[in-house]
């Protein structure tokens, strides 16, 4: 087993451990559980980074040229974003909601063909790195907003049901969750917009047309419209709280459909993913 594979497998195992600790933490928390989960996820992230760097060195370009690499890179971006949010807001329980997404993405990545192939001439461009990094970081922020949105709905349910318990006390306040959710979308939206812009510029260079209604382009547009609606409705109609949380969940599900669903269709130019 080479270094890249070994570190990938190790990251997968550590993420699984983080998921299990996260589940334990939901039901029974001690002061050390959330710290322990962060340490384990941190080691996983480190190992994951090595696997990505390894592939980068071997292939000579950013490792997002096949579905295995793209899914792995996407989950890496989510963990990266998770650490930023956790260190900024100290939510504690966020990992319990985020790490399962990371693990599922990594597990799907592990099941996809892993061979390193040469880039097709079409993809040999600086735009590859720029477009995909914007897209994945934007999507990672949306993934985080999804996790926070789920937390909001759980906490809102506790407040409304009037049967409060231990988890109610450990979850942040509704206002915090709503504000962080909004903040994440305001981070993700410009990144995602830049991804669309750079993607269409690249498409124009490669194929002579900015927009060709490829299925992934259509789904990206749908996703972009959903997040644009969230921001717009929040500013103008005061859509916040539960509605914003639900919309951010729908938004991320759209991203997942775009990511995995279109792959199944095997059509359009983005099929290399």
């Amino acid at each position: 087993m080479d270094t890249g594979t070994l570190s990938f497998e190790l990251a997968l195992t550590l993420y699984l451990a983080a998921v299990l600790i996260g589940i334990i933490e939901l039901f029974k928390s001690t002061k050390t559980t959330s710290r322990f989960m962060l340490v384990i996820a941190g080691f996983g992230f480190f190992s994951h980074s090595i696997s990505i760097i390894y592939r980068y060195v071997i292939a000579g370009h950013i490792p997002i040229s096949n579905a295995h690499e793209a899914t792995s890179f996407f989950s890496w971006c989510i963990v990266f974003m998770f650490f930023i949010i956790e260190f900024r807001y100290r939510i504690g329980l966020l990992g319990s909601f985020i790490m399962p997404i990371v693990f599922v993405l990594m597990l799907s990545s592990s099941m996809l063909p892993r061979e390193i192939k040469d880039l097709s001439p079409m993809l040999q461009s600086n735009w590859l790195g720029i477009h995909t990094v914007f897209a994945f970081l934007g999507n990672a922020a949306f993934a985080m907003a999804f996790g926070i949105g789920v937390m909001y709905l759980v906490q809102e349910r506790f407040v409304r049901s009037k049967h409060i318990g231990d988890l109610f006390r450990r979850l942040p306040s509704l206002q915090s969750l709503d504000e962080i959710n909004y903040r994440l979308i305001t981070w993700g939206f410009p990144l995602f917009t830049l991804a669309i812009i750079t993607g269409s510029l690249w498409a124009n260079t490669a194929w002579g047309s900015y927009w060709r209604w490829d299925p992934r382009e259509v789904w990206s547009l749908v996703t972009w419209l959903i997040y644009a609606t969230i921001l717009h409705a929040r500013l103008l109609a005061g859509w916040r709280g539960k509605r914003a949380a639900i919309l951010s969940i729908i938004g991320f599900l759209t991203i997942l459909i775009a990511f995995f669903g279109i792959k199944l269709l095997e059509k359009g130019r983005h099929v290399f993913l």
Binding site: V159, K162, I164, F168, S173, L174, Q175, W239, R240, G241
Partner: protein
């Protein structure tokens, strides 16, 4: 161990009796000095709160001290001695230690987990320290009780959840809003319970308080008390556009806020969340409002439900706390028992060291030709022999055994030592 606790609390004596037996102000000093002056009383601490009066003492003879203390209380407070028989409890030894730890940790309080008692116990101890009525045993016991209480506080969640209507309101508000110091509160009507809830919110540092009362003058009066402002009752809906927390208790027989009115308010608020506590019976806020987005409505039964849940959790945590206390009582008793053996261990070591020193000196005088290295080797060997010889008896003395007194006496006799 001759620790004796004599006292009464809210469980066995009603407030009338507790008042009569209280040691307040200058009487505390007088009582403390009186107790310390009783024959056979080595140390004393008096804890006197609204729910309990307790005397912690270290005495020479428990039985004699029990009678003496009863007589003292009867004389001091002018109560006939026989009336005290059923009102007081007498605890000694292990039971006394456990009781003091439970009191400090608030397990014996009317509301389990309430934090005031620890402060009161600290004050009582500090006062006794100041008046020099304590010694080694009670000092250690009181310090230990305080640290046990802190351990209980950190290792259990005994004091975490609100157990009164007004605190439950604050606790919930904190889960809806991040920082309640940025929030404004409106008091709709001026019922007693609403006032109390508002008081807790004010002490938690809310930004602004507005009072809307049917009698405007009363509203002004109350607003002044909270450092807030009063508005006319018919303006309250308008005011709700900016208020984050509303505490309602108008005493009106019908709803004063309907769903349609709330809809209009929410629209104007741009859906900013609002937390409404309706303490009135019958309810003053249409319960349907709770279905609206970003409106969180709690009535008095809801709050009671929250309190009941919290109470249950406190009970569970209290069980954990009892475990901690049992452990700490054993540690304390072990420390106490080791006190018995300390003089004997010290004397044994002094005797052995004396012999060692004497014999080394004699040997070195006889063999002046020995070099530095050899001298050190001789000293090292002598120290090793002494340590090995006294190791087993020292361990035996430190051990927690039933025949400790016999062991101490035997060692003293065998080695001819007189440790006190």
């Amino acid at each position: 161990m001759n620790i004796l606790v004599v006292g009464l609390n809210h469980k066995i004596a009603d407030v009338e009796v507790r008042e009569k037996l209280a040691f307040e102000g200058p009487r505390l000093h007088e009582g403390l000095m009186g107790l310390k002056g009783l024959p056979g009383f080595l140390e004393a601490v008096v804890l006197s709160t609204c729910n309990r009066v307790e005397i912690y003492t270290n005495v020479l003879d428990k039985d004699e001290a029990s009678d003496a203390i009863k007589g003292f209380i009867s004389e001091f407070h002018g109560i006939k001695s026989h009336l005290l028989e059923s009102a007081l409890y007498f605890l000694s030894g292990k039971d006394a230690v456990r009781h003091i730890f439970r009191v400090a940790s608030s397990l014996d309080s009317m509301i389990v987990g309430e934090p005031q008692i620890l402060g009161q116990l600290k004050d009582a101890f500090e006062f006794a320290l100041l008046k020099k009525t304590t010694g080694v045993l009670l000092n250690k016991l009181m310090k230990k009780a305080i640290s046990v209480a802190k351990r209980v506080r950190t290792e259990t969640k005994i004091a975490e959840n609100a157990v009164s209507i007004s605190f439950a309101g604050v606790e919930l508000a904190r889960k809806i809003f991040t920082d309640i110091s940025e929030k404004s509160v409106m008091l709709l009507g001026a019922g007693e319970m609403a006032e109390l809830a508002a008081r807790h919110l004010v002490s938690s540092g809310v930004r602004e308080i507005v009072v809307a009362n049917r009698t405007f003058e009363r509203g002004v009066e109350l607003a002044k008390e909270f450092g807030g402002r009063a508005v006319r009752f018919n303006e309250f809906l308008h005011e709700m556009r900016h208020t984050d927390i509303v505490i309602c208790s108008t005493g009106a027989p019908t709803y004063v806020v309907t769903k349609a009115e709330m809809h209009a308010v929410m629209k104007e608020r741009k859906q900013k969340p609002v937390f409404i506590i309706d303490i009135s019976v019958p309810r003053n806020i249409d319960p349907e409002i709770n279905r609206m987005e970003n409106v969180f409505l709690y009535d008095v039964d809801d709050l009671q439900g929250v309190i009941d849940t919290n109470m249950l959790e406190r009970k569970k945590e209290a069980e954990k706390a009892e475990g901690i206390i049992a452990e700490e009582v054993e540690t304390f008793l072990r420390w106490f028992e080791s006190l018995d053996a300390v003089p004997a261990i010290v004397a044994l070591r002094e005797m052995a060291e004396g012999i060692k020193k004497e014999e080394i000196e004699r040997l070195l005088n006889r063999l002046p030709e020995l070099g530095e290295k050899e001298r050190k080797a001789v000293e090292y060997m002598a120290t090793a022999i002494v340590n090995k010889l006294i190791h087993s008896p020292t361990v035996a003395l430190k051990e927690d055994s039933e025949d400790k007194e016999f062991l101490i006496a035997t060692i003293k006799r065998l080695y001819g030592i007189n440790g006190q």
